[in-house]
């Protein structure tokens, strides 16, 4: 880089004198502010020259280091006697404490030493610092009268009860310790006192006649049962049940409901659980992992099925109600809902002049059962939908006939550019996956629709679109059916295994036939909405059905279903069915719209019932 000097050189100005001058001028400037680095010998510092040293030097003074403060002469410590306030006796112990600073200003050594001997002697510190750790457990208390009136027990003497209470207090409710240390020896005089009445009889008889067996071994549950029983009774005595607040009542309930037998079985189970051997533990781990896997698979399947059904049901199910269904599974939620509806109803009534509506709610219904609450929910739903739907805004609409006549079509959105109708049709044939595309093509072929549609007008395209949609649904249904068939097979084989080898060959075939019918019904049910208008397609679907059944028929034959004569099993099945149906019920009653959906959903369940009934008929 060109410095000023170079420039001067180039311009032919004299270099020497000026440079000298600046150097001379600068020297004092630079040297003046340089502080002498401390802790470095002057000779060494001189070696650095003018430039800063190549290594950063940290001055010792600046380095972090706790400063040793001079706090005057060494502090005196004394062995201070103190008493502990947590003790009842006045045990005096000594600990080291800073000697308190002398009150007088005299700091003279001799004087303070004098003071030492004078002042320290009488001073005794009273230490309450650790008093807070001296906690006593809260115990129920009773008087003799209370005991005699309410707390007597044929199994427990007063003395032993007191002993139990002592232990509970001593070990602060640590039941494991209480039980461990429980060693009740009835004192001589008390047993004498009891024996006195029967003193004439022989002593062993007298002992046997005692209201309680002396020094019998008590289990932890016995101890707890006695203590809780007394606690509960005392609680009730001191605070009547109605006056207890929630916490107290919960505690009371817990105490009153203690069941030693149940507790004992629980402990037996717990110890059995702990004493499992290695193999059992391994097996359990394995089974748990398996269960999780199965659950995940089931969830996935359910989700798929759900998705499909939502596609099959053209009208989107009432979201609000569906949400309501899940939200109102608990009686609490239902109660809340009812309250809300009741309020609505009342306000409406007031508005309409108090005339009771057909579906009005009465206050007496508040404490109704969940089912009645559901009815109310339906009513409210209806009412709500009536109330909230805005009246259709009149737009100049052409009637469908007119539309056809004038060939007018309305579009939500128009795409720019020109498209061929045949392209549109072709596009519809294509699905995401190749296999699906082929399947669609095969279905169309079966329906006798040629690859090329000669006059692809808009109307043809519309119909074709509808058709393709149905074909898609059909294919999905087929897929699910296959899956469900597989599931049925698994279940049936499980059932068969449960029944043992009871099923004869004939029964097996029958069972298989049953299973098949069952599946057919199911499929038909679930296809109800597919087969509603287009006859051709419906036929095709039935054809397909038959085709599809070709394979599982063979498979089913070697899966043995339940033996016909097995009444017990059928009963069980019936129970299950009715349960399933009762579970459905709320959803069916939720809304009319939903009822159909619900019906379809429960199709498999219903069909099961129907097969069973048909079986009965056959019998």
């Amino acid at each position: 880089m060109a410095s000023g000097r170079d420039v001067r050189d180039m311009l032919g100005l004299s270099v020497g004198g000026d440079a000298q001058k600046t150097a001379v001028q600068k020297r004092p400037k630079t040297t003046a502010p340089t502080r002498r680095i401390q802790g470095v010998a002057r000779e060494v510092a001189a070696l650095y020259g003018e430039r800063p040293p190549p290594v950063a030097i940290f001055e010792e003074k600046k380095a972090y280091r706790a400063k040793r403060q001079s706090t005057g002469p060494a502090k005196r410590w004394v062995q201070q006697s103190f008493t502990n306030q947590a003790r009842i006796d006045d045990l005096m112990l000594k600990h080291w404490r800073r000697k308190p600073a002398p009150q007088s200003a005299i700091t003279n050594g001799e004087d303070s030493a004098m003071e030492d001997t004078e002042n320290m002697e009488p001073f005794i510190e009273s230490n309450a610092e650790f008093l807070k750790y001296n906690v006593e457990p809260e115990m129920p208390t009773f008087t003799d009268e209370e005991y005699d009136a309410h707390l007597r027990s044929s199994d427990w003497s007063r003395e032993e009860t007191d002993y139990l209470f002592q232990l509970v207090a001593a070990f602060s409710y640590r039941w494991a310790v209480i039980w461990d240390r429980y060693d009740y020896q009835p004192s001589a005089n008390s047993s004498l006192a009891v024996q006195e009445p029967s003193i004439n009889g022989d002593s062993s008889q007298a002992l046997a006649a005692l209201p309680f067996a002396p020094s019998k071994t008590r289990t932890l549950e016995d101890l707890k049962a006695r203590f809780y029983e007394i606690s509960a009774k005392l609680m009730k005595l001191h605070i009547p049940e109605v006056q207890m607040d929630a916490d107290q009542y919960a505690k009371y309930e817990m105490l009153a409901k203690f069941d030693p037998a149940l507790e004992r079985t629980r402990k037996t189970l717990a110890s059995a659980l702990m004493n499992r051997n290695m193999d059992e533990v391994k097996e359990e781990e394995f089974l748990l992992a398996e269960l999780q896997r199965i659950n995940m698979a089931a969830n996935r399947l359910d989700a798929e099925r759900e998705e499909l059904r939502s596609r099959l049901e053209a009208p989107v199910p009432n979201q609000q109600v569906a949400a309501g269904l899940t939200a109102f599974t608990s009686s609490q939620a239902l109660q809340a809902l009812f309250q809300q509806l009741f309020q609505q109803d009342r306000s409406k009534k007031r508005a309409s002049g108090g005339a009771p509506g057909r579906l009005s709610l009465a206050g007496s219904d508040i404490l109704a059962t969940p089912t009645s609450a559901q009815h109310a929910q339906i009513a409210a739903n209806r009412r709500q939908s009536m109330a909230t739907l805005p009246p259709p805004t009149p737009i100049r609409n052409l009637s469908p006939q007119e539309e056809i006549r004038y060939n007018v079509s309305t579009h939500d959105r128009l795409t720019s550019g020109v498209t061929f109708g045949s392209d549109k049709l072709l596009k519809m044939r294509q699905a995401k996956s190749n296999v699906q595309t082929q399947k669609i093509a095969a279905a169309l072929q079966q329906l006798g629709i040629s690859d090329l549609i000669s006059i692809p007008t808009a109307r043809v395209a519309d119909v074709f679109e509808g058709l393709i949609g149905k074909v898609g649904k059909l294919l999905d249904v087929r897929k699910v059916r296959e899956k469900e068939e597989g599931e049925c097979r698994v279940l049936e084989s499980m059932k068969a295994r449960l029944n043992g080898g009871g099923g004869a060959d004939g029964a097996q075939v029958d069972g298989a036939a049953d299973g098949e019918k069952l599946m057919k019904d199911e499929i038909r049910d679930s296809q109800e909405d597919v087969e509603d208008e287009d006859e051709d397609e419906d036929d095709a679907a039935r054809e397909d059905d038959a085709d599809a059944y070709g394979e599982p028929d063979d498979v089913d034959n070697d899966v043995d279903a339940d033996a016909e004569g097995d009444d017990e099993d059928e009963d069980a099945e019936g129970e299950e069915d009715s349960r399933a149906q009762s579970v459905r019920q709320p959803s069916e009653s939720m809304s009319t719209r939903h009822i159909s959906a619900g019906h379809k959903r429960s199709a498999s369940v219903l069909s099961q019932a129907s097969t069973k009934s048909s079986k009965r008929v056959r019998k």
Binding site: L93, E129, Y133, R174, R181, L220, S271, M274
Partner: protein
């Protein structure tokens, strides 16, 4: 200004401490530990053995490491502990404990141990000094005393402890605590199962919230001394028999080949010490052997299972040299001598030393202890298994214990807590006592002299639960 670091003592406020210069005394079969509460190691670790020489003027007692290892004429070595793990000879036990306290802790206040006759071979001064001792201030006049006791201590023994402390040592305050609980405290646990493998006894103590569950306390004689005995048997049963010569008999040794007979010159005593002295000295060699050679089969499975013995044989041996120069490399037999702790059936035995009871092995003790505890507390206890005692320092002891416990209880989470430092493992009970007695909140528990005088020795039952 005090910058806290690992070597500065914590502020007493931090742990609610309030030190009153209490003394903690942890008497064991092998050693007696004593020190000031609040310190991290006992200052005074004295052997629990004492020397006795019988002269015309009656028996004389010798205490302390130096005295009992000096081969004095007609010196016999004894131990005040009974075979049931409870003190038997109260008189000497008191003296040993007093020695442990006064020799290092309270200093020369009562009388100098060098002069008080306790260690004096000269019989004449004995009585004089004992009388003098009685006139003197008592040794613990201003130190509260916390003592430890085994979990199975009898009521009588506990009362005796209290009497000794109050009457003979004049302590102003006293407390008695079980070793199990204290060992748990030393590991920072208030609940757990404490496995203590000491010299004379192995004990398993379930502790819940700082209180011993008495029904669950288990003990067995399979501990350090048992292992020593096994080693003796192993020496005896090998062919040729392995000679066991203690240090004090050897004058000088020369190096010999492995397995070759020793060529050492022996010391000659005019009047040799008694056999019990020799046995005690042999025990020292055996402890050395335990420390450097013996190994516990680490598992899985027992040493005698399947091919385990072959696997052990394939491992390199460990050499050992006796004080007289005899030396050998010990192979798989070094596993065998400790196997009895876990598998009594595999223990070495002969006519005098029968096979120990199967119930006495450590896994069984643990099982027994756990089965006596309420079911709900079991899993929690098994998560805190504290291992303590000198014999747990046997190589691979913890590995094996871990395997054994996991085999018994495969379904619970079992965790062994074994402090690494040797001091903490050996003196866990003392350290726990040191922590406890330095806490401010502990001071309300002391049995004061006044209370003792009012209620008598029986108060220990009520207060030290």
């Amino acid at each position: 200004m005090n910058i806290p670091n690992s070597s500065t003592a914590p502020n007493t406020n931090e742990y609610a401490g309030d030190e009153v210069s209490a003394i903690v005394l942890d008497p064991g079969y092998n050693t007696t530990r004593a020190g000031f509460a609040g310190e991290d190691v006992p200052k005074s670790v004295c052997p629990s053995f004492y020397g006795q020489t019988d002269s015309d003027s009656g028996p004389q007692y010798l205490f302390g490491e130096n005295a009992i290892h000096t081969p004095t004429a007609r010196l016999g070595i004894k131990n005040p502990w009974g075979s049931d793990g409870i003190v038997e000879d109260w008189e000497t036990a008191t003296k040993i404990w007093e020695y442990a306290i006064t020799s290092r802790l309270t200093g020369t206040k009562p009388t100098d141990p060098a002069k008080n006759g306790l260690n004096d071979a000269n019989g004449d001064s004995m009585e004089v000094d004992i009388e003098a001792l009685e006139n003197q201030e008592k040794p613990l006049e201003d130190s509260p005393l916390l003592m430890t006791e085994p979990g199975w201590n009898t009521v009588k023994a506990r009362e005796k402890y209290l009497e000794i402390a109050m009457e003979e040592w004049g302590t102003p305050a006293y407390y008695l605590h079980k070793t199990g609980t204290l060992a748990a405290f030393a590991s920072g646990k208030a609940s757990g199962i404490i496995i203590d493998v000491g010299a004379s006894h192995t004990s398993v103590t379930p502790v819940l919230d700082g209180m011993v569950l008495r029904k669950g306390v288990q003990k067995s004689p399979l501990a350090g001394n048992f292992v020593s005995n096994q080693i003796r048997l192993m020496f005896k049963q090998s062919s040729p028999e392995i000679p066991l010569t203690p240090h004090f008999m050897v004058n000088s040794k020369t190096q010999v080949d492995a397995g070759a007979p020793s060529q050492a010159s022996m010391k000659v005593f005019d009047i040799p010490p008694l056999d019990s002295f020799r046995r005690h000295e042999e025990e020292r060699v055996l402890t050395e052997f335990k420390e450097s050679v013996v190994e516990v089969w680490p598992g899985p499975g027992r040493f005698s299972n399947g091919t385990n013995e072959e696997i052990a044989k394939a491992q390199p041996g460990r050499p050992f040299e006796m004080p007289d120069g005899w030396n050998q490399v010990f192979g798989s037999e070094r596993f065998r001598v400790a196997e009895g702790l876990f598998d009594p059936a595999a223990a070495l035995h002969d006519a005098d030393n029968p096979i120990p009871k199967a119930d006495h092995c450590i896994p069984r003790l643990v099982q027994q202890a756990v089965s006596h505890v309420d079911v709900d507390a079991r899993p929690m206890l098994l998560q805190n298994i504290v291992v303590t005692g000198g014999s747990t320092l046997l190589y691979k002891f913890n590995d094996r214990l871990n395997h054994e416990i996991n085999t018994i209880y495969p379904s619970t989470r079992n965790k062994l807590i074994a402090p690494g430092p040797v001091v903490e493992r050996k003196y866990a009970a003392w350290i726990g006592g040191s922590i406890l007695a330095s806490l401010g909140s502990f001071h309300q528990l002391w049995i004061s002299k006044k209370e003792y005088e009012e209620h008598g020795a029986n108060i220990v039952e009520k207060r030290c639960r």
